[in-house]
Subunit: 226 residues, 2 copies
DNA sequence: GTCTATAAACTGATAGAC
DNA sequence: GTCTATCAGTTTATAGAC
């Protein structure tokens, strides 16, 4: 029996160094992401970390407490990546560079902690009222962080002014959030992906005179305009 | 008892004219959206349409069959709105206008059938393998529809060429999908919203010389560039 | 810290009356 | 078409042994 445990723990790899408690959170995030909160049973979480269901109650008071921690982690890892990059920029950095740094941090945070961030995004609209209300403050803080960045840039003329900051933030962060659902590292590096997404966010899908499509500016290959 | 039924049916409004079967689908879509598939019980669906749980099995073979129809409806209503608008355009319509029509159709379809479309987006990643596999063809057909539109435009130079069609489609459709999670009609009309979203999708968040921010082009109010 | 055993409630689905 | 009654299985959470 203890032999079985050691074997499984070894196959679980270096994740187990933090102990059962963190293992439960990681397993829960993955299951919440792929099945939803209500559909995930404590027995499934327990089995994933090679423990019996009853043992979980030594580390957590309830299933809802596990949910609380998974939700908060999903936002905090992203916020940390964004804040780190923005704090590293010089104070006089132009808006485009600052927003690029925020986009990069958001994407890196999302894609490197996919189970926590994807679980957060997927299940937030489906959880009970209690956890939803408790988690709201963490979400609001992150939204506020973006709003301040964007509002400052819009005030300086570094951001389009015909759309409100809140709509810009909801659109951009929403679009970034969704990339975790379809980004595939087999189709290219994360760095290249970040550059592409940044380009679309800043300049849209319209054709631009970039190095890779300059040839399109020859009149005969241009689409007819009206 | 039959009095109670009539009273409830009247309060349910004109939705009931299609009969219990459609009522079940509408109620299921709403519950799936807000609680997830597994968390929604047949008893909850039954209660929402003022019927007993056992009665649902007269109209549907299983809970999974209800899921199948809710999922398919969520994509089909959107695809119909998009196709209707594109088919109404003249054959020589420029790419910008065609893509604008697709964006408008997608947003109208999503926001006017919010429970079906939001349920689809929210729970697709969390449902059992059977329904997921069955639904895949409907999703692929819609993705293909966008890909053909975008590929044709990119070939004509009507779309930026430094990002692949599939990434452009995934980003744009993903961003549009997410708007159903935050669009609030109290903050403005649907028409104005569509114009704003189209503007961001085509030209990005960078400042532009539009009528509403021309004053920003005065040199002294412009952000310092480097 | 983890286990077993169990309580109390709920689940999808079926059978048969009306 | 809808109802009631019920089956067999599952759920979260608890109690107490080790």
């Amino acid at each position: 029996m203890s032999i079985d445990r050691k074997k499984k723990a070894a196959s679980t790899g270096p994740q187990s160094i933090d102990g059962t408690r963190s293992d439960v959170l990681r397993a829960a995030a993955k299951l919440f992401r792929n099945q939803g909160y209500a559909a995930t049973t404590l027995r499934q979480i327990a089995e994933a970390v090679d423990v019996k269901a009853g043992s979980i109650y030594y580390h957590f008071d309830s299933k809802e407490q596990i949910l609380d921690e998974v939700l908060d982690t999903g936002i905090r890892v992203v916020m940390n990546e964004v804040r780190t990059r923005l704090d590293a920029l010089p104070a006089e950095a132009p808006c485009r560079r600052r927003i690029e740094a925020a986009i990069e941090g958001h994407l890196v945070g999302m894609l490197q902690h996919g189970d926590f961030t994807s679980a957060n995004i997927r299940i937030y609209g489906q959880i009970p009222a209690g956890p939803k209300k408790r988690h709201r403050a963490v979400r609001a803080a992150y939204a506020n962080y973006w709003d301040q960045l964007l509002a400052e840039c819009q005030g300086k003329g570094g951001l389009r002014a015909d759309v409100s900051v809140s709509v810009l933030r909801l659109f951009v962060v929403g679009a970034l959030n969704w990339t975790v659902e379809w980004f595939d590292p087999r189709h290219g590096s994360l760095e290249a992906f970040i550059r592409q997404i940044s380009a679309i966010v800043f300049d849209g899908i319209s054709p631009h005179a970039t190095a890779s499509n300059l040839h399109r500016l020859r009149p005969d290959s241009r689409e007819q305009r009206r």
